[in-house]
Symmetry: C2
Subunit: 342 residues, 2 copies
DNA sequence: TACTATAATGTAATCGTTCACATATAGAAC
DNA sequence: GTTCTATATGTGAACGATTACATTATAGTA
């Protein structure tokens, strides 16, 4: 609650001297003045006023964390999002930045908020299409896009090599000897009539399909099962899948979907993994909690959140060092839901 | 990027007139001036500068969300926390407040941050003991404590009726005919030597114990199984539990623990629910995702997050209306892991 | 002694907004 | 034609910091 001025009066010096001490410009102040002022700062419980600093310098130690919330739901119920936000928050704290958690539904409103709060940088999670265009056009401070598609050459993006992930999934399942493999996913950008198109899933699909092709296998139309990415829809998909007699494996583009699919299969009397193998994507905790434990494609959630902050801070503090966009690679986590065909 | 002054110059009026329009003091400005200014605001993409407002009024539209992070981990990996934070964020957005996500490990640092950013109010999640004392002493703006113990008469707390929850658990399991019921939990405040004491769990334990007492049953020492609240520790506890031949039911003070316990029991060849009933606490998504689906005590996560914001906003904007602390009641969600004993 | 370099401290404007008050203009009332 | 009131608008200080520059004091050099 106390101000520079109050400290200054108490110390019998000018505000400038106190400011110099607070900001560590020690060569400008004599040692005993520094001591005296530091004691007073401690005693009087002085904390610099962020607003005043921002106003005067138009620099802030604030990073906005913006999550795509078109659906206007509790986005943090999605463990993927909360992992990222948690990692961002920790790393920001580490780097002495504060985090503004943005939850507006519309991008223009997000833009206004960022302006209003004078954020030093922003992280965008899961934005696509026109929203990305707006972001690119309107942003005037450093920002990085996490899991955003389509990537533009002019923005820094951090993501997962989704195509590789899909391919790895395909390669793995075919390497186990599977020939008739189904694909369970949310709506990808090839689906004309769905609202919530998801480019990430599209790339996973492409990679997966290419892997099959390379093995001389074709992905049949009726083996492509699309729904929303939820547990309940997964259960539905699983039941449906049980009717497709020939299928011996299924690749699900999200762990939560895979968990549902397994349950749906179980309800229909199909044994996982002995009758059908299930492979997920994400490696979220859920994959460890279900039984049998889910084999899945791991992606670097924590690393993505962390480096988003590192990138932002770098862009703010050392704009001369230009770091390129990055796509983290994936790896296979073999657990209990996948088996060779014989 | 444009300022009041720029709008004022463009409109040929003083900043005050523009300010009046921006702040909806319409009776003070003529209608055509309002129109002209509004057009310019739109065209010039004017957004009020939050820092300047805060500095000038020392009022902010900022709520700090502070999560106890003594352990210095990714607190949002815990779905309970992220549910709350997500609900808080949504509701704050609804009420036109911004959310500062606080992730400092030490309470004094949190206090400094809140001062520095001039927050209008704060929500504290999961703080206990000395930390709460510090919070109570240092806070100068409205705040509410979520799931914090011990409650002080002078602070507004929002929580779950944990005692009732424990009691309901005990009553339910005994009503099913169970007599030898185990209790699996994290360290409660009766455990002298653990670092991470959790008063919430203590109350659940008390309620549970009292329910058994009322049925003339005693909770035996060796039926009290304490570990950390994690899936893996749950698995351990489950294996251990399988060795206690007589036990026919177990109450776990958290869903994640229950999920592990079920897996541990399964690994040891014990069938849930036919050989042993398992009851959880929280009703997090995980309880729906495991198989068999977990019976559990439901608590109002979303409501808690929402009303925390409502309380704060009320305290900020209508301090004359004093609302009392609140404890939300719990209810039983019967799924598949509990069965009558015969 | 005068002159200059360096260290220590101070001054005043500024950032964008709000606040409390002041002013201007018009029409109504006397 | 004064006085009054209401409506519309303007003025200048303040919020708490920073910035660029100015001042003073002290010591060192020619």
């Amino acid at each position: 609650m106390s101000t520079l001025k109050e400290i200054a009066t108490a110390a019998g010096v000018s505000v400038m001297t106190v400011s110099n001490v607070v900001n560590g410009r020690h060569h400008k102040v004599s040692v005993d003045t520094i001591d005296r002022i530091n004691k007073l700062i401690e005693e009087m419980n002085y904390v610099p006023n962020a607003s005043a600093r921002i106003l005067s310098t138009s620099r802030s130690k604030l990073i906005a964390m913006c999550i795509n919330n078109k659906s206007n739901t509790n986005v943090l119920e999605d463990p993927y999002n909360s992992f990222i936000v948690g990692a961002v928050s920790r790393q920001a704290n580490e780097k002495e930045y504060a985090v503004l958690l943005e939850n507006e539904t519309e991008v223009p409103k997000i833009m206004s908020q960022l302006k209003s709060w004078n954020v030093a940088g922003a992280i965008f999670l899961g934005f696509t299409g026109n929203d990305l265009l707006t972001i690119e056009k309107e942003m005037t401070v450093p920002y990085v896009c996490l899991d955003c598609y389509p990537e533009s050459k002019n923005m820094v993006t951090i993501g997962t090599h989704d195509y590789n992930g899909g391919k790895l999934a395909g390669q793995y399942l075919t390497s186990l000897g599977h020939k008739r493999i189904a694909f369970a996913s949310g709506p990808t950008i090839t689906d004309k009539n769905s609202k919530q198109l998801n480019p990430l899933l599209h790339y996973r699909f492409q990679g997966f399909q290419d892997a099959l092709k390379e093995e001389g296998l074709a992905l049949q139309e009726e083996y492509i099962l699309k729904s929303e990415i939820t547990y309940d829809d997964g259960v539905q998909t699983g039941s449906h899948l049980a009717l497709l007699k020939d299928v011996t494996a299924v690749f699900c583009t999200a762990d939560i979907l895979a968990a549902g699919v397994i349950e749906g299969l179980r309800l229909s009397g199909k044994k996982v993994p002995h009758e059908i193998s299930v492979l997920g994507f994400d490696n979220l905790p859920i994959s460890n909690y279900i039984s049998p434990k889910l084999s899945t494609i791991n992606q670097q959630h924590t690393l993505k959140g962390q480096s988003a902050v590192d990138y932002i801070v770098n862009m703010i503090e050392s704009p001369e060092i230009v770091k390129p966009s990055i796509q983290y690679d994936v790896n296979l986590v073999e657990r209990q839901t996948t088996l060779p065909i014989y």
